[in-house]
Symmetry: C2
Subunit: 313 residues, 2 copies
């Protein structure tokens, strides 16, 4: 990227990958990628080479999140450079392979954009996940998709928290974009969630085509929800969960949670209230896969980011 | 059971078991049984010995439906009498052990009642599952629970189909009762589903206490939904699924499906209509665990059964 008269210039985004099955039981992405592997007409755009790719085929086959370890946390520098070959966990080997094909991560040879397709059991609706508030190409893409989806809502989760950011599969690309659509149970394909994801991808690819054709996107603002902290379930001295997400909070992703609001409901009927110092916007509320990560939900704060104008370099 | 003046007489139902974790990722039952194992006050009733029991601890530990094979299909005569010891699949061994503790199945020594606690990803609400329309003790229990729950709804699924009935964990008891509450994703605990299951169990145990105390229950009628057939997802020549449950059918468990109504929605946008000869009531619509069983939903018909008066022998 270079700047000129406040207009950021990026190389053409010719090489684009669409990842499904990073978690093998998140069925919308698995199904779309399998569909587009058979017939890619729907994802073809002028000047764009869009590659559909199943990232964790063993997990897809078993319809499980992962086999040995979470692939979407596996793209650390240590893993990507680890020697050991077949002694490594399956997903570490797979991360190395994906990094060879679509990376290397951080290099000029890396793919331009990777879309990684995820589902959640949380009531998050259509969500796009970004890893950097400084990536004006991605911010402009968010603005384009949000406008194209309106009046339907499509929210942006910004995870660049120094401790809570994790090493995603899509982080191999210059411009990593996560799609997170829910609610959908693991192992289930719901037509509403499937079609919503399909529409987001359509707009995203349209944006890239326009950009590659030389369209200039003027400065804009983008509302994002910035990751603040993870909240665990209340537990006893042995680490056992002793409460559930409160019915007033369950399914209320993105709605304000104020100090004193009900947050958990213990098995013996007591209410635990939110004790933070100000209003937050919870999301990933009661996501199935996050029990093992000791995360009941995430708190975020609303922010408005300014995206520079962008044009092809 | 014996009859006298049209009143059926049953032995006291003193020995009652409450099974959780027959499927290790159905969290309401797992959580309730663990809770009651620590403190059984809530399930204590005069003259009733209620035993909470985790049936598939290895699957619970892994938060998966099963380890080797579906425990809730494993209670066949062949499995229960199979020699082989530790060479057998884990769930077959476990079925034999459960049969030793709570059975033997079909014998006078078997437990009187087993409640088996299940969750579904389908929008089935509160459902009780019976295996025989001739068990007047259970039919009276259904009537009691339905009345106690009103105006909330609690429906009864009757599976005594000669081909589709399967060998459940609870079938070890003289009076087997399945609880199936949803929608709840696998691996997730939702407070509304958890509390609904807890209330059903409360009424069920109250019924048994009253019965054991000698209360006579007069004749009554019970509406049930009788299993007719399983419908698979549409597939291509290679067996791959090519359609999803239609949005008009998704989440519409127990609502009438008429000939010509939309049933599936193909990935390329076509609608597949129901071709049956009359109105049916679908349930278990888009249940996660039934993809591998090639079952998109089940059809049922509504029936009204007559339950005899019952009293303790």
């Amino acid at each position: 990227m270079s700047s000129y008269n406040n207009t950021a210039r990026f190389s053409e985004a010719r090489r684009v990958a669409i990842f499904g099955g990073t978690h093998g039981n998140e069925m919308s992405g698995v199904t779309l990628v399998n569909l587009w592997t058979k017939n890619g007409t729907e994802i073809q755009r002028k000047g764009v080479e869009a590659v559909p790719f199943i990232t964790n085929p063993k997990a897809v086959e078993k319809c499980t999140r992962y086999v040995d370890t979470d692939l979407n946390r596996a793209f650390t520098p240590e893993n990507l450079s680890a020697p050991g070959g077949n002694d490594l966990p399956y997903e570490v080997l797979r991360a190395q392979e994906i990094n060879r094909i679509f990376g290397p991560k951080g290099s000029p040879e890396a793919y331009d954009v990777i879309f990684d397709l995820h589902n959640t059991t949380s009531n998050m609706g259509c969500t796009l996940i970004l890893e950097s508030s400084k990536d004006h190409f991605n911010l402009q893409m968010m603005n384009y998709i949000k406008k194209a989806m309106a009046p339907a809502s499509c929210l942006v989760l910004m995870n660049e928290h120094p401790l809570l950011k994790y090493s995603t599969s899509r982080s191999v690309a210059k411009h990593p974009v996560g799609l997170e659509v829910g609610p959908q149970p693991q192992g289930v394909l719901r037509s509403n969630i499937f079609e919503a994801m399909r529409v987001i991808l359509k707009h995203a690819l349209d944006f890239i085509e326009l950009f590659n054709e030389g369209v200039e996107f003027p400065p804009c603002t983008v509302e994002v929800f910035r990751v603040l902290e993870w909240i665990d379930y209340p537990r006893d001295a042995n680490g056992n969960i002793i409460a559930m997400v409160h019915p007033n909070l369950q399914d209320c992703d993105w709605e304000p949670l104020n100090p004193g609001d009900p947050m958990f409901h213990t098995f013996d009927g007591k209410t635990i209230h939110y004790q933070g110092s100000g209003t937050v916007y919870p999301t990933f509320i009661n996501e199935a896969a996050y029990y093992e990560k000791q995360q009941a939900f995430i708190t975020t704060r609303r922010e408005t980011l300014v995206a520079s104008a962008i044009i092809k370099a």
